[in-house]
Each structure stands twice: as structure tokens, then as C-alpha cells.
């Protein structure tokens, strides 16, 4: 189960009692966790991952999903971090009432574990993070997404302040590791690998009842 950056998808295996409204970039991991743990009560509705690059659109997109699904579920959880909405996503959740989200500023942080991420923030300040998803879709979301393919200056214009690529890996996958190393090489940055597993996502989903 893998969603392209512009895809929306509803995963409703058992027509469960709890709905997870999630960023499309998390679909694969969420569904893996559901299957692994046999969480039959969980349904998932994904918004397109490309909203990442226009975070101002996230709060209203989530609000709409809440409103169209409110009557069908006992409870709704949002699997979006703040994601650069500057608190506006939280405001929408407060206005809609009785919907909470996974804590954290962005997915890089909750995959690493919010506490761990914060503790390392200073050392990682000049790091660009990859997750399994971003590794797979780097070309579409970043390379083309930020116009790095359109002018030879662009990689250094965009990544000039960066020193290393840190691959926060959700799964052990050698092909992805090679891809991550290649991305670092292409950007002219050092490369570091850290296996995080599902991080805070797994423990948070376990509480979604």
C-alpha cells in the first residue's frame, strides 16, 4: 500500500468504529501497523501527501474530512503533526471538538520519537531528514517539487545551508538505504543512517480506541 504524493485514499477494511485521518505520506506505515496488530476497529482516510508543501491548506482539508465522517464513527484521531500549520491545525481540532492528533511538530520528529528528536535538535540542525516515504518520493516531492531539476544552481540554492542527510528508516530495506545514500551524494551532503522503526506512531495508534 503506497500512495503517490497527489493521491487520496480511504482504507476501510472492517468499517471500524474509529477513524484515523492521516497524511498520505504515512499510509503505508499506518496500514502495516494495523495489519500487524490486527486493529480491526481502525479505518483510515488519507489526504494527499503533497499538502506538505502547502501546509496552509492542511487545517481546512482535515476539517472537511472530520465533518464528512463525524456521524459514521465513535471517535476520530488525526495522524498529522503540526506540520508547519503554526498551530492552526490544533485550532481547527479544538473548534471541531473531541478530535485529537498525534503530538509533535512533524513526522520526522515522531518517527524518531519526539523526545529523542528534541534532544538531538542542536546536533541535527543542518540535517535534512529522509523517511522511507520521502526516500521513495524524493524525486517527485523535492527534486522536481522544488525545481532542483530546472537549473544547475538550484540544488545549492536550496540545500546550501545543509551538511548531512539523515535517513530515519521505518523498516530495514537495503534498496531504500542505497537510494538514501544516492540522494545524499546527489545533494553533495554527508550521509547518516538511523533506524527508528515506527517511533511514536505505533504507540499513539495503540491508544486510538
Amino acid at each position: 500500500m503506497e500512495l503517490a504524493p497527489s493521491e487520496t485514499h480511504d482504507f476501510k477494511r472492517g468499517q471500524g468504529s474509529v477513524l484515523l485521518i492521516a497524511c498520505g505520506a504515512l499510509a503505508r506505515e499506518i496500514i502495516q501497523l494495523i495489519e500487524l496488530n490486527n486493529w480491526q476497529h481502525l479505518d483510515v482516510a488519507c489526504l494527499p501527501a503533497k499538502l506538505h508543501n502547502t501546509p496552509e491548506q492542511i487545517p481546512e482539508a482535515v476539517r472537511e474530512k472530520i465533518r464528512t465522517n463525524r456521524d459514521k464513527y465513535n471517535r476520530i484521531y488525526v495522524l498529522y503533526a503540526d506540520c508547519g500549520t503554526g498551530g492552526l491545525l490544533d485550532k481547527v481540532l479544538e473548534e471541531e471538538g473531541d478530535v485529537e492528533r498525534i503530538p509533535g511538530p512533524h513526522c520526522y520528529s515522531f518517527f524518531a520519537g519526539n523526545d529523542v528528536f528534541e534532544a538531538r535538535a542542536e546536533d541535527d540542525m543542518r540535517a535534512f531528514f529522509l523517511t522511507d516515504y520521502l526516500c521513495r518520493h524524493f524525486d517527485k516531492l523535492v527534486w522536481e517539487g522544488f525545481g532542483l531539476d530546472r537549473h544547475p544552481d538550484m540544488p545549492s540554492f536550496v540545500f546550501g545551508n545543509y551538511e548531512k542527510v539523515v535517513f530515519l528508516a521505518q523498516t530495514k530495506d537495503e534498496a531504500l538505504e542505497r537510494q538514501a545514500a544516492e540522494i545524499a551524494h546527489r545533494l553533495g551532503l554527508a550521509y547518516e543512517y538511523r533506524f527508528t522503526g515506527m517511533g511514536d506512531l505505533a504507540s499513539y495508534m495503540a491508544t486510538a480506541k
Binding site: 508543501n53 502547502t54 501546509p55 496552509e56 503540526d82 508547519g84 500549520t85 503554526g86 498551530g87 492552526l88 511538530p105 512533524h106 535538535a121 542542536e122 540542525m125 543542518r126 522536481e144 517539487g145 522544488f146 525545481g147 530546472r150 537549473h151 544552481d153 538550484m154 540554492f157 536550496v158 545551508n161 545543509y162
Partner: protein, 234 residues
């Protein structure tokens, strides 16, 4: 906007060339912007006029279309890269030829954050509007702001943050200014995509600016008021 047939920039009349540079900036064509800038210089244009009429005006159109959802992040990044190249040629000349100075600004991205494209764009547009701008770069702790204030005696302090985790640091800077009894000596402008008006108010900034155009208007407005106050009390 780009036309496939080859346009020879040096054959265009001044006003056509300026128009073409607006299009080239829109299309993020760095080399063409460099060439156009050099041609206008050779034709005896004042660097400041090239900056305002060709570059700033072109970038204003880009900013408007970005705001209205016609252009997206990659196009803006390409345009910003082209603008930077033109600016790179003009900046040393601006200092020599004496551009007008409406006021002075210190601008930087706050501690923990290394996003800088929007901040640099604001800096360039402020220069284009006639401000002397000292860009102190990225990842600035409050000490850097204090040092730059001491050195450049700015009228305006600009802070940028693009991360939810670094936005709160703006308050640290403002609170330090208050502690030192300096807060009222400056206008503090804040910006960056995750910020909003409410946040600007909450941390005690004078104004949150959605984009570079708003930043320029706001800064001009404050300077006008400052001058009026000074002449009223003189």
C-alpha cells in the same frame, strides 16, 4: 510566459528589455537576468533604477501570483535564485552610487532554523524599496541580533522562522529587548509561512507580514510615522 523564438536582449529598447526581464524573472531564468542587468548598466542606467524597475517590479508580480495561487513554491524558488543573481551584480554598485535610504533594517532567521529563502527575498525587496539591509543569515541566537543592533543601529528588526519549533524563539529576542529597555527603539517585523497575525501579536512584535510586499509597505508606513512623530516633537 517564455516564448520559444530566440530574443536577443541587447537588441531590445530599454522599456522592452525591462519588460522582458520581468518575464525572465517570472520564468526563473538566471542567465538572462544577469545579461539584462549588465546590458542596462552598459547603457548607463543607475543601479538603483535597474533594481527597482527591472528586478523588484518583476519580483512583485511573482509575489502576487504566488499569493494568488497561480505560482507555486518551485517557481518562486527559481525566481528568487534569478533575482539573487541580478542583485549580486548590483549590490556593490548600489553602495558606490548611493541608493536612497529610507531607513535601516537588520534581518535574520532565528536560532535553530536554517530556512532562508523567504527571508533573503524580503531583504532584497527591502533594499529595492530604499532600505539599507543587514542580513545576518540563519540560526541566530539573541546575541547575534544584539550585536547587529549595536553595530548597525537599525530602525527595523526583522525575524524569520519556518519551523513550528523555532517560532517561539522570536519571543525570546523580543523579551530580551524589553529587558534591556530597548524594545521601543525599534520596529519589530516577523514573518515565515507558519506564522500568523495572532502569533505576531502574542509575542509582542509590531507586525506580522505575510509576504515581502506587505513587509515593504509596513516598513514604509512605520518610517513615515516615525518621521511625523519626530517632526511633531521637534
Amino acid at each position: 510566459m517564455s516564448d520559444e523564438e530566440d530574443i536577443v536582449l541587447s537588441e531590445l529598447a530599454d522599456d522592452e528589455l525591462v519588460q522582458q526581464m520581468h518575464d525572465d524573472l517570472y520564468d526563473g531564468l538566471k542567465e538572462e537576468i544577469e545579461e539584462g542587468t549588465n546590458i542596462l548598466l552598459e547603457r548607463g542606467w543607475q543601479p538603483y533604477n535597474i533594481l527597482t524597475q527591472a528586478l523588484v517590479e518583476g519580483m512583485r508580480i511573482v509575489g502576487e501570483d504566488f499569493r494568488d495561487g497561480i505560482l507555486f513554491v518551485p517557481e518562486v524558488l527559481l525566481s528568487a535564485n534569478a533575482m539573487k543573481a541580478g542583485m549580486f551584480i548590483l549590490r556593490p554598485l548600489l553602495a558606490e552610487t548611493g541608493a536612497p535610504t529610507l531607513g535601516t533594517m537588520v534581518i535574520g532567521t532565528v536560532k535553530g532554523d536554517i530556512h532562508d529563502i523567504g527571508k533573503n527575498l524580503v531583504g532584497m525587496m527591502m533594499e529595492g524599496a530604499g532600505f539599507e539591509v543587514f542580513n545576518i543569515g540563519i540560526n541566530n541566537p539573541v546575541e547575534n541580533f544584539l550585536e547587529a543592533i549595536e553595530q548597525h543601529k537599525p530602525d527595523i528588526i526583522g525575524m524569520s522562522a519556518l519551523l513550528t519549533t523555532t517560532m517561539p524563539y522570536m519571543k525570546v529576542v523580543i523579551d530580551t529587548l524589553i529587558e534591556k529597555g530597548m524594545r521601543d527603539d525599534f520596529v519589530v517585523l516577523v514573518g515565515g509561512a507558519p506564522l500568523n497575525e495572532e502569533f505576531g501579536k502574542a509575542i509582542g512584535a509590531d507586525s506580522y507580514c505575510r509576504d515581502a510586499a506587505v513587509a515593504v509597505e509596513t516598513a514604509k508606513d512605520f518610517m513615515k510615522r516615525k518621521h511625523n512623530q519626530m517632526s511633531a516633537s521637534a
